[in-house]
């Protein structure tokens, strides 16, 4: 693989007492979270719980109103070195429909300072099973292909932190399994992953631990091997308990 420009690395990312307020709406309130290399952490919670808000704080594209996000020993600064080690995959592939898969990945490889962007893009697309479609415009790709392309794009900078914002939305089971396999391969290479998903089965398959958020507050943490049934029961209890508790105090 061609060398990628990289000056900064970190073995953990931490959110320390972070809160986020949008105008008068408190989206997050005093949340702590620690991510470690090779581990996948899931953010769970009902709609409006603050999951995506917390994910964006880790992406450096949003800053906390109070509290701190640290990359290793570095405080959160939107410096280009830390940014370059973060990969993002959301329900959108974050690619240009009029360009081919190859052109898209090569474009991002150039921005990451890759010396041989076209060769690098070709290798990545082969790795992610898109070798037959790499010269076709992205607008002709199926949903599953788009997500694999999104992963290839996110992997260009060899991220230390991979952020997944509901990447399985709209995918059928077969495509979901392909994307899960790719994410697992990245986990084995030591990437730390933070994922937002409403699907508890996928969460149980991928995540090592989960943080449950309700209305911007931490409702609980789940660790150890996660199984769909126990995860579902524990999640429901945490959400109901916090909602009932807040209902009593309001």
């Amino acid at each position: 693989m061609a060398p990628i420009q990289s000056e900064v690395d970190f073995d953990r990312v931490e959110a320390l007492g972070v809160s986020k307020i949008y105008e008068r709406h408190r989206a997050l309130s005093n949340v702590d979270l620690r991510l470690e290399r090779g581990k996948t952490t899931a953010l769970l919670g009902p709609n409006g719980a603050g999951k995506t808000t917390l994910l964006w704080l880790f992406s450096t594209l949003s800053r906390p109103t109070s509290g701190e996000v640290r990359f290793g020993d570095l405080p959160l600064k939107r410096n280009k070195e830390a940014r370059g080690k973060i990969g993002l995959l959301s329900h959108a592939s974050l690619t240009y429909g009029d360009l081919s898969g190859l052109e898209n990945v090569a474009f991002f490889a150039r921005l990451y300072g890759c010396r041989f962007p076209d060769r690098e893009a070709e290798q990545l697309l082969q790795e992610f099973g898109l070798e037959d479609a790499m010269r076709r415009p992205v607008k002709t790709y199926s949903r599953g292909m788009l997500q694999r392309l999104g992963l290839a794009r996110a992997w260009v900078g060899r991220p230390t932190l991979l952020l997944l914002d509901e990447p399985f939305t709209g995918l059928d089971r077969a495509s979901t399994m392909v994307v899960i396999d790719r994410i697992r391969a990245l986990q084995r290479q030591g990437t730390m992953t933070l994922m937002v998903s409403h699907d508890l089965e996928i969460t149980a398959e991928l995540a090592d631990e989960a943080l449950v958020l309700v209305r911007g507050r931490t409702a609980g943490r789940l660790t150890g091997p996660l199984k769909p049934d126990t995860l579902r029961t524990a999640y429901r209890e945490m959400v109901e308990t916090l909602i009932a508790k807040r209902g009593r105090t309001e």
């Binding site: 594209l61 280009k80 974050l94």
Partner: protein, 237 residues
């Protein structure tokens, strides 16, 4: 930071902005939607106005300068909205913002793309203007006209790019862009019109032209510096 590092940083910004601009141009060459619609619109503006302003049997030369800048400004607004809509469509702007390139490189790349699109529009509008208004110009004044258009287009691209990126997440961005853009570019349009009118008046002095060009340069420099400075805070929550 050593001088060598500063030079390397500057070269890297230029290289990255060219990569971003080249991507925008490549996307446009595939779809051709911005160039075709804006050039067509600019041409129609000139055509319609050429039939609206007559002095006796001939089109009125005195209004030609104003029509040129109206056509360029309106066509530019159409293109600006679309350039940023592409970044919004696939949420590509987030992927761009996560790359390790310096924010000024991203800004300059987008502004360069808009600048090239506008030059293409001007390449259609200016000959149409000369044709429909029966204008004549000397070679020397044609070069001066190119200079005024260049300076005006730089200013327009810089301010337009900044404001369009500011409105990237706004729901009614197309309407808002028009509302916020024109107060900012009004001085630029006035200077452009006055300088162009001085050039079209072949018997007139060029004192006004020189003054306008100096002010256009100052305008471009001020807004370029301000835009590079404010671009990052605009895009991060």
């Amino acid at each position: 930071m050593s001088v060598r590092q500063e030079i390397a940083g500057f070269v890297s910004i230029l290289r990255d902005s060219w990569i971003v601009a080249k991507k925008d141009l490549r996307v446009e060459l595939r779809s051709k939607e911005i160039l075709l619609t804006t050039a067509y619109f600019g041409f129609l503006v000139v055509l319609v106005f050429s039939f609206s302003f007559f002095y006796g049997d001939a089109p009125l030369h005195a209004v030609a300068a104003g029509i040129l800048w109206v056509a360029v400004a309106f066509a530019g607004t159409l293109g600006l909205g679309r350039v940023f809509e592409r970044e919004r469509e696939g949420d590509c702007i987030r992927a761009l913002l996560l790359t390790p390139i310096a924010r000024p490189a991203l800004f300059l790349g987008k502004a360069l793309g808009v600048f090239v699109f506008m030059l293409v529009v001007e390449a259609v509008v200016v000959p149409a203007l000369f044709f429909f208004f029966n204008l004549a110009i000397t070679a020397e004044r044609a070069g001066m006209l190119a200079l005024v258009l260049l300076l005006g287009t730089i200013g327009y691209s810089v301010i337009g790019t900044l404001l369009a990126s500011m409105l990237l997440r706004a729901q009614t961005k197309d309407v808002l862009l028009t509302i916020v853009l024109y107060p900012f570019i009004l001085p630029l349009l006035i200077l452009g019109v006055k300088a162009t009118a001085a050039l079209f008046d072949l018997t007139g002095e060029l004192g006004v032209f020189s003054e306008c060009v100096r002010l256009l340069v100052a305008f471009d420099v001020v807004f370029l510096v301000a835009s590079l400075w404010t671009f990052e805070p605009i895009l991060v929550d």
